[in-house]
Symmetry: C2
Subunit: 218 residues, 2 copies
Amino acid sequence: MSGTVIRVLIADDHASVRAGLLLLLGMAGDIEVVGEAADGALAVAQERALRPDVVLMDARMPGVDGVEATRRIVANAGADVLMLTTFDLDEIVFGALKAGAAGFLLKTVEPQDLFTAIRRVAAGDGVVAPEVTRQVLRRFAAAPEPGPEARPAYAHDLTPRETDVLVALGQGKSNAQIAQEFVISLATVKSHVSSVLAKTGTSSRMQAAIEARRVGLV
Amino acid sequence: MSGTVIRVLIADDHASVRAGLLLLLGMAGDIEVVGEAADGALAVAQERALRPDVVLMDARMPGVDGVEATRRIVANAGADVLMLTTFDLDEIVFGALKAGAAGFLLKTVEPQDLFTAIRRVAAGDGVVAPEVTRQVLRRFAAAPEPGPEARPAYAHDLTPRETDVLVALGQGKSNAQIAQEFVISLATVKSHVSSVLAKTGTSSRMQAAIEARRVGLV
DNA sequence: GGGGCCATCCCCCTTAAGTTGGAGGACGCG
DNA sequence: CGCGTCCTCCAACTTAAGGGGGATGGCCCC
């Protein structure tokens, strides 16, 4: 953002930590600490006033915590936030990432790695501590599909038209609405719905709709 | 897994790439290449036969591709898979991660970083190339909640019983099933359903069910 | 050119869903 | 206590859903 020097705002409730980071970052050469904040509310205010490139944010702070502060800064299209915390608790990690943090590091990080991380975040990249990357990947892999099963085996048996109907079912449409959408008669829709129910192994349009959504047809 | 030496299987359809990786990994000292595979199907078979600690998997391969091979290896509780690819296309990245890959690197990676990545994956950590970490974080932040809105305004108006019913609706249950579940009469269920439809602004149990799922009531 | 698959439509029937309008009992609160 | 809210239930009605047949025409492939 600012050419060669990266402007950083430090947010941590412990004065000693701020002082330590201040000294440490001063050794980097291409990093300039432009401000400090002792809590989340101050961090948000300082970010708006100082327009830093990166905010080094502690997760645990009195009042408005780091996660909430991150959410506000990101919502305001502000600086990139690098969350720096002592604990890799799921709650904090995922809270921070959902809040839109650009990076997540543990305070056990080596100085060189911290510098690298700040530079990467400033460049628009993301950074996640190796120790927590695994948690993130696991969550990522787990989120979309519950497990090894869950694949639409029936998908191969459904005719194109039936698939259309199943999608419409997933959208909560009535037979009449489906008939209108595809310009066919109500009787035809019923035929297709019956086929879909049989092939998907469901016994009501409700369950079929849930199936359709579960497998991502909607 | 194997004490001090990390056993690696290389899967890539280009013989020259395999040869290059073989030479490169030989320089690491603590890494031993125990096998090679030219396509996904072979990779899965080799993994089962050789039981490596880490599989270096190319994403693009003829026949069974790297993503599908990864899915099969992970489903079988096999080795950790480190995906190595030329392109950081969303499709490949998210496909690999959803398949359960433990890491994702670009082929532009520096040898030292590749060694480090292999060691981390072998240690059970996750690794994601800095260039793609940002994509992952963005997806992560976007996935859970569509946006600032989407909160159930009507949730405050729903009585406890009505909420029960809405949840049941979201599970695709019929009025009769709901009556049985809560040990009330069918008539009562109908009353509650009507109230729920009115308060949620929906006009059919289908739409109410979708609403219930959308706001996370199920 | 005959068979199979698909999409379309029809009739009849049973059951579920949803509406309307009411009514009684339990509980809490001023 | 009186009032309001909630939960419970009922009856009667209209509409939608779903099953069980059966029929037609188009299309593709052997």
